[in-house]
C-alpha cells in the first residue's frame, strides 16, 4: 500500500458531522415544513452566492481533513515497508509545490528578492550587502526588474483562460442537466438563465462560481513561480498557511456547535417542558456557567491540557496529533461556554409550546412525555436551532482568532488565522513594514465571515415565521 490513512479525532468528528448533515438533508427533503424554507434560501440571490463561496471554503477544508502517511521510497534493511513520520492531507499533496518551496525568511508578495539584506559573495570575490535573489520566487526570470510585470500579466492571462474554460464546461454541464430535467431544449434553458428568469438564481450562482474559479486559477498559475502572498519569518509561503488555516476555522465553527447542540437542545427543552425542580436545576446550571468569565475558563483548560501533554509526550505519535487534540479541547471548551444562549432560547420556546393546544391535546391522548418532546416540541423549535447555528458560526471563527492571538487558542504549530496574526503582530513595528501575513489572514477570514453572516441572514429570514411574507 502506498499510504496508510490516519484518522485524527477531529477528522472523525467531521465525518460524523457530514453524516448528520446528510441524514438531516434526507429528512428535511421529506418534510415540507423544512424543505420550504430551504427552498426560499436557495431562491435568494445572496443565498446562492454565499453558498458558492462557503462551498469553496468547505472543499478546501474537507481536502485538508483526509489525512494519511505516505510510504517511504526505500524499505529499511529488514525489508519492512516504512512510512513517513509526517502526517499529510490531500490538500498538502495538492499544494506540495507551495509547501516545499521555502525561502530563508521574509519576502514580499510577488517579490524576487528577500526582504532582508545579506552579505553576498560576488563572482569577483568581493562581498557586498544587498537583497539576495529568492531561491524559488521569480527564480526563472533572467532580469527581474524588466521581465516581472510582463511575466505576471502573461501568467494571469493563462490562469484566466484556464479558469474560464473550466467554468464554461461546468456551466454547460449544468445547463444540459437542467434542460434534461425539465425536458426543455438546451438553448431555451440557457437563455432563461442568462435573463435571470429561473426560480433558483442560477445566473448569480454561475457568476459567483466563475469568479471563484478564475481567481483560483490565476492564483494557482502565479503560485507556481511566485509567492503570491509573500513568505513569513521562516520562509514559509503565506498563501499555503492561509489555505491550511481554513480547516481550523471551519472546524472551530462547526464542531463546537456539534458538541454543544445535544446539551443545549435536551436541557433547554427539558427545562421548559417539565418546569419544577428540573427547570430550577438547569437554570442554575447555566446561570452559574454563564457567570464564569469564558476566557478564564478556556485559558485554564488549555493550560491544564498543555501540562498534561508535556508530561505525557510519548502518548502522541506526531506533532499533528498533539495539535489536533488541543484543537478538539478548544472546541469542547468553547462548546461548554457557548451552549447557554441557545439553551435559554429553547427553554423559553418550550415554555410557550407546552401550553399550546396541540401539546395539551397530546397529553389528553395519553402520549408520553418524551414522545411529546420528540414529536411536538423539537420539530417546532428546529428553526431556532438552525438560525442560532448559522449565526454562531462566524462568531466562533472570530473567537478562534482572538484566542490564538492571546496564546490560549490552537497549538502554535497548527496553521490558523489567529496564529498568523499573532506571529505577524511583532513585525508590524519593522521598517519596512511586514504587512502580508496580517493582510492574508484578514482577507481569508473576512471573506468567510462575511459570507457566513450574509448566509445566516438569509437563513434567518427564511426560517423565522414572523418575517414570512414581508
Amino acid at each position: 500500500m502506498p499510504l496508510i490513512p490516519v484518522v485524527l479525532w477531529t477528522d472523525a468528528l467531521v465525518f460524523l458531522l457530514l453524516a448528520v448533515t446528510a441524514l438531516f438533508a434526507v429528512w428535511a427533503a421529506r418534510h415540507e415544513h423544512l424543505r420550504a424554507p430551504w427552498r426560499r434560501v436557495v431562491r435568494s440571490r445572496i443565498g446562492v452566492a454565499t453558498l458558492v463561496v462557503l462551498s469553496a471554503y468547505a472543499v478546501v477544508g474537507l481536502l485538508d481533513t483526509v489525512h494519511f502517511r505516505l510510504k517511504l521510497d526505500r524499505a529499511d534493511e529488514s525489508g519492512e515497508v516504512r512510512y513517513a513520520p509526517e502526517v499529510l492531507s490531500l490538500l498538502d499533496l495538492a499544494l506540495s509545490g507551495l509547501r516545499e518551496r521555502q525561502e530563508k525568511t521574509y519576502s514580499a508578495p510577488f517579490a524576487t528578492h528577500l526582504h532582508a539584506k545579506e552579505a553576498l559573495d560576488q563572482p569577483d570575490g568581493t562581498v557586498i550587502r544587498d537583497y539576495p535573489r529568492l531561491q524559488h520566487g521569480g527564480a526563472h526570470l533572467a532580469d527581474p526588474e524588466r521581465d516581472r510585470a510582463w511575466d505576471i500579466a502573461w501568467r494571469s492571462l493563462i490562469g484566466l483562460v484556464q479558469g474560464l474554460i473550466l467554468w464554461a464546461l461546468l456551466a454547460a454541464g449544468l445547463v444540459w442537466w437542467l434542460a434534461r430535467r425539465h425536458g426543455q431544449p438546451f438553448d431555451a434553458v440557457r437563455n432563461r438563465i442568462l435573463k435571470g428568469q429561473t426560480q433558483i438564481p442560477w445566473r448569480t450562482a454561475l457568476g459567483t462560481l466563475g469568479l471563484v474559479l478564475v481567481l483560483a486559477f490565476v492564483i494557482g498559475e502565479l503560485a507556481l513561480k511566485y509567492h503570491v502572498l509573500g513568505t513569513d519569518k521562516v520562509g514559509e509561503d503565506v498563501l499555503y498557511q492561509a489555505l491550511k488555516s481554513i480547516r481550523t476555522g471551519l472546524l472551530i465553527g462547526t464542531l463546537t456547535t456539534l458538541i454543544m447542540l445535544p446539551a443545549a437542545i435536551l436541557l433547554g427543552i427539558m427545562a421548559g417542558y417539565f418546569r419544577g425542580w428540573i427547570d430550577d436545576l438547569i437554570q442554575y446550571l447555566y446561570t452559574t456557567l454563564n457567570s464564569i468569565p469564558g476566557v478564564l475558563l478556556i485559558a485554564a483548560t488549555i493550560l491544564m491540557l498543555q501540562v498534561y501533554m508535556s508530561n505525557h509526550a510519548d502518548e502522541f505519535a506526531s506533532l499533528v496529533e498533539r495539535a489536533d487534540l488541543r484543537l478538539l479541547f478548544l472546541c469542547l471548551i468553547l462548546g461548554v461556554t457557548s451552549w447557554t444562549g441557545l439553551c435559554r432560547l429553547l427553554r423559553g420556546e418550550a415554555l410557550k409550546l407546552r401550553e399550546i393546544d396541540y401539546v395539551q391535546a397530546a397529553q389528553a391522548l395519553g402520549v408520553g412525555h418524551f414522545t411529546i418532546i420528540a414529536r411536538h416540541i423539537l420539530p417546532n423549535v428546529m428553526h431556532i436551532v438552525l438560525i442560532t447555528l448559522v449565526l454562531d458560526f462566524s462568531g466562533l471563527v472570530l473567537a478562534e482568532a482572538v484566542l490564538s492571538y492571546v496564546n490560549i487558542g490552537v497549538d502554535p504549530t497548527m496553521n490558523s488565522w489567529g496564529n498568523m496574526i499573532n506571529s505577524a503582530r511583532l513585525e508590524l513595528a519593522r521598517d519596512p513594514i511586514v504587512w502580508w501575513s496580517l493582510a492574508a489572514a484578514f482577507l481569508f477570514m473576512f471573506t468567510l465571515v462575511l459570507a457566513a453572516n450574509l448566509f445566516a441572514d438569509v437563513v434567518r429570514d427564511a426560517f423565522d415565521p414572523r418575517l414570512r411574507g414581508v
Partner: protein, 700 residues
C-alpha cells in the same frame, strides 16, 4: 333627505402583487348621514376592515386604492396630501380598533396619550389645557375618578376601561365620523353592553355619525339604524336594520340569519352555508356567492349581478331579487330554498312544558361526577420563591355529566371555566375536590395510571389554528391517540381508522396526507373533533369550539356536534360564553362567576327564568336580533374582580344591583329549587323580590 356626511362611490382597493392583485374592496358605494349609526356586516375576510383602512387611507404598504371617491363633508379625501390627511384623521374622522390591549402604548400614561391626541387636534400646546381636556374626555366616556386615571398606565386598566380610553382619544379631535372596527369583539358580553351603551350616549351627545364594523348580527340589531352586508369585497345588500331582520333579500343574508343558533331551533339542524369565501385574487365572472348559493340559477354563473336599488335605503346585488323586484315588500324571496325562512322568533319554548328532548335525569346514573373541584395556582414571590397567595381559578365546583347529554359551562373570560375543563381532564392538576369517572377517582393518579381513562375523556380546543402541530400530517395527528394508547399499533390499521374518522366528520379521506395549514378554520375544527373521537371517548370537553369561527361555519360545527351526540351517545361539557349556542345545544347549564358555579339547572329553566342576579345581567347583556325578545339591560358596573383577591362574602356583591348587607359578609349557601336547579344567592334564599317569586318550586 339630509346631505350625507360620508359619501363613498366605487371605492376599489387592491392588495399585493400588481400582476395578480387581491381586490379586497370592489366598487364599494355607501352614504352615511350625520348622527346615524351605519353597520358594515360581514364574515372574516370579506373586506370590511380593509374598507375602514381605505377610508382612513391607512392601508398596509402593499395596498393601494385604485378607483373611487371618498367625500367627507364635501372634501375629497383621496386627493388630499398626506399632511392634510393627517389633519383629517383623528380630526374630522376618528377610528377605534378591535384590540384595546394593543392600541395603547404600554409605557406611556393614559393622560399622556390622550393629551397627545388633544394637542394634535386642538392646537393647545400648553400642558395644562391638554390635561383639563383629557379629564373632561375621560369623564365623558364614563371613567370614574378621571384625575386619578390620568397618571395610570394601560396595564392598570381592564379591557373595558381601555376601550373607553380609546374612545376618549378618538373623541379628542371632536370628530364628525367615528369608525369603530369590531370595537367589542375582544370584550365580554357585560363589558360589551357597557361599551355599546357608551357609544350610543357619545353619539347622541355629540351628533356623531358612526360606521360600525362587525360580524355580530346581534350588535347590529341593537345599535345600528342602517346596515350594509359585505361579501367577498362587495356590498351585497343595504337596508334599514328593522327591515333587514324582518326580511333579508340576498340569499347570503338569509343564510346568515338562519345559521344563528337559538332556542327556537333546538330540534332542528342549523342552516349552513357550504364552502368558504372565494379567494379575492381570482377573476370573478358571475356572482361571487354562486358556489355557496342553494338558489343559484344558470344566469348567476355567467353574469355578475348589478346593484339594484329598491329605494333610497334598500338595495341588493342578486339576480333573483331582480326577478321579483316588484314584490319586495309583499312576498318572501326564499321559496327556492328548501330551508325555511326564519320564522318569527317566538320567545323560547313554553316554560310550563319541558322540552321534549329532556328525559328524566334522575333515572340515569351520571357518567362523571365532579364534587368541589378546586384548582388553585400558587403565586411565588421573592428570591426564595415563597408562596404568597393563590389564584383561585376554580374554587369548588360540582357538576354531573350524563351520557348523551350536554352540560354547558357559561361565564365571562377569567371566570375559570376553561381551567375547570382542564382540571376535569387532569391536564391541570386540581388542588382539591374529587372527579369520579364511573366511580373511579381520577385526581391524584399518576401519568401512567391515568392512561386507561384518557381514552374515555377527550377535549376539543378553542383555537383551531393552535391545536394541531403544523409540522405533522393530518393522518398522523388523528392517529396519535390510537398509537399512544396502543389501540391500533400498526400503521396500516391506524390509517384505515383515520379514513373512517375523516368521513365521520365530513371530510375527504384523502385529507390524511395533507398538512393542517391547508385547511380552513372550520375544517380544522372538524379535524380536532375527529382527533378527539379517534379513541372513542365517552365524554368530550368542548372548550369554546366555535368562538374563533364565523357564524356560518359555527353552524356547521354545531350541527356536527349534535349529530355525533345522537349517534355515539357522547356526554359533552360545553364551555362557552355564547348564550345563544347554549340555548341551541345544551340540556343543562351551569353559570360560573369567579371560580364558582352561581346557578345550575336545565337550560329552559335557567335561560327563561334566571334567578341569580349575575345570570340575569348576563342574559340581558346579550345582544338579540329580535326586538321583541330584547330585555331590559341590567347595568353591571365595573369588571370581574381578580381571582387572586376575591371579594369577601358573595363574590358578586360589588357589582350586584340587588346586594344586601349579608352579601358582604357571607358566601351564600346553595339553594335547591326543585330537583334540578341550584342557585347560590342570599336573595333567593330569603325570598327577596325577584320577578318570579310566585314560582311554586321555591322552598322558603
Amino acid at each position: 333627505m339630509t346631505e350625507p356626511l360620508l359619501h363613498v362611490t366605487g371605492l376599489t382597493t387592491e392588495l399585493g402583487d400588481p400582476t395578480r392583485p387581491a381586490r379586497v374592496v370592489d366598487g364599494l358605494t355607501l352614504d352615511i348621514r350625520p348622527g346615524e349609526t351605519f353597520a358594515l356586516l360581514g364574515e372574516s375576510g370579506c373586506g370590511k376592515s380593509m374598507t375602514a383602512l381605505s377610508l382612513m387611507r391607512l392601508l398596509p404598504p402593499s395596498g393601494r386604492i385604485t378607483a373611487g371617491s371618498v367625500q367627507l363633508g364635501g372634501t375629497e379625501l383621496l386627493s388630499l396630501t398626506e399632511a392634510e390627511m393627517r389633519q383629517v384623521r383623528g380630526g374630522r374622522m376618528a377610528m377605534i380598533f378591535q384590540e384595546p390591549q394593543t392600541s395603547l402604548n404600554p409605557v406611556l400614561t393614559v393622560g399622556t396619550q390622550i393629551g397627545e391626541a388633544v394637542r394634535l387636534h386642538q392646537g393647545e400646546t400648553r400642558q395644562r389645557l391638554g390635561a383639563e381636556r383629557a379629564v373632561e374626555l375621560l369623564r365623558a366616556v364614563g371613567i370614574p375618578d378621571p384625575e386619578q386615571r390620568l397618571n395610570e398606565y394601560p396595564h392598570q386598566l381592564s379591557g373595558g376601561m381601555k376601550q373607553r380610553v380609546m374612545i376618549a382619544m378618538a373623541l379628542a379631535g371632536d370628530p364628525r365620523l367615528l369608525i369603530a372596527d369590531e370595537p367589542t369583539t375582544a370584550l365580554d358580553v357585560t363589558i360589551q353592553a357597557q361599551v355599546l351603551r357608551l357609544l350610543k350616549a357619545v353619539q347622541s351627545a355629540n351628533g356623531l355619525a358612526v360606521l360600525l364594523i362587525t360580524h355580530d348580527l346581534g350588535v347590529v340589531a341593537e345599535t345600528a339604524e342602517r346596515l350594509a352586508v359585505m361579501y367577498a369585497g362587495q356590498i351585497v345588500e343595504t337596508a334599514p336594520v328593522a327591515e333587514f331582520f324582518a326580511q333579508p333579500l340576498h340569499p347570503y343574508s338569509r343564510h346568515l340569519l338562519e345559521s344563528l343558533p337559538d332556542a327556537g331551533k333546538r330540534g332542528r339542524r342549523l342552516a349552513v352555508i357550504p364552502g368558504r369565501v372565494p379567494p379575492l385574487d381570482t377573476p370573478f365572472q358571475g356572482c361571487r356567492f354562486v358556489e355557496r348559493c342553494p338558489a343559484a340559477i344558470k344566469r348567476c354563473r355567467l353574469e355578475a349581478p348589478e346593484w339594484r336599488a329598491f329605494s333610497d335605503e334598500r338595495g341588493v346585488r342578486c339576480h333573483l331579487a331582480e326577478l321579483d323586484a316588484a314584490g319586495v315588500s309583499s312576498r318572501p324571496v326564499s321559496d327556492r330554498t328548501d330551508s325555511p325562512t326564519p320564522e318569527p322568533l317566538s320567545p323560547t319554548s313554553d316554560p310550563n312544558s319541558p322540552p321534549s328532548d329532556t328525559p328524566t335525569e334522575t333515572a340515569q346514573v351520571p357518567l362523571l361526577t365532579m364534587r368541589g373541584l378546586q384548582v388553585h395556582f400558587p403565586i411565588h414571590q421573592g428570591v426564595l420563591r415563597r408562596v404568597v397567595g393563590h389564584v383561585r381559578a376554580v374554587d369548588g365546583i360540582s357538576l354531573d355529566l350524563y351520557a348523551g347529554r350536554t352540560l354547558a359551562l357559561v361565564g365571562e373570560s377569567g371566570c375559570g371555566k376553561t381551567t375547570a375543563g382542564k382540571g376535569l381532564l387532569q391536564l391541570v392538576p386540581p388542588t382539591g375536590g374529587s372527579v369520579r369517572y364511573r366511580g373511579q377517582e381520577l385526581i391524584g393518579l399518576s401519568h401512567r395510571r391515568l392512561r386507561p381513562f384518557r381514552k374515555d375523556l377527550q377535549i376539543v380546543f378553542q383555537d383551531p389554528f393552535a391545536s394541531m402541530n403544523p409540522r405533522m400530517l393530518v393522518g398522523d395527528i388523528l392517529g396519535e391517540g390510537l398509537q399512544a394508547l396502543r389501540l391500533a399499533p400498526k400503521r396500516a390499521e391506524r390509517m384505515r381508522r383515520v379514513a373512517e374518522l375523516l368521513e365521520l366528520v365530513g371530510l375527504d379521506p384523502e385529507s390524511a396526507d395533507r398538512y393542517p395549514h391547508e385547511f380552513s378554520g372550520g375544517q380544522r375544527q372538524r379535524l380536532c373533533i375527529a382527533r378527539a373521537l379517534a379513541v372513542e371517548p365517552r365524554i368530550l370537553v368542548c372548550d369554546e369550539p366555535t368562538s374563533a369561527l364565523d357564524v356560518s361555519v359555527q353552524a356547521q360545527i354545531l350541527n356536527l356536534l349534535k349529530d355525533l351526540q345522537e349517534r355515539l351517545g357522547l356526554a359533552y361539557l360545553f364551555i362557552t360564553h355564547d348564550l345563544s349556542v347554549v340555548s341551541y345545544l345544551a340540556h343543562e347549564v351551569a353559570v360560573m362567576y369567579l371560580g364558582r358555579v352561581v346557578e345550575h339547572g336545565r337550560v329552559a329553566d335557567v335561560l327563561d327564568d334566571p334567578r341569580h342576579p349575575y345570570t340575569r345581567a348576563l342574559l340581558s347583556a346579550v345582544p338579540v336580533v329580535d326586538p321583541e325578545q330584547r330585555r331590559q339591560i341590567i347595568r353591571l358596573e365595573g369588571d370581574m374582580p381578580s381571582p387572586r383577591h376575591p371579594p369577601s362574602g358573595c363574590h358578586f356583591h360589588p357589582r350586584c344591583p340587588e346586594a344586601i348587607e349579608v352579601c358582604r359578609h357571607h358566601y351564600p349557601v346553595e339553594t335547591r329549587l326543585g330537583s334540578t336547579r341550584r342557585v347560590c344567592c342570599h336573595c333567593v334564599d330569603v325570598g327577596v323580590a325577584t320577578q318570579t317569586n310566585g314560582d311554586s318550586k321555591i322552598r322558603s
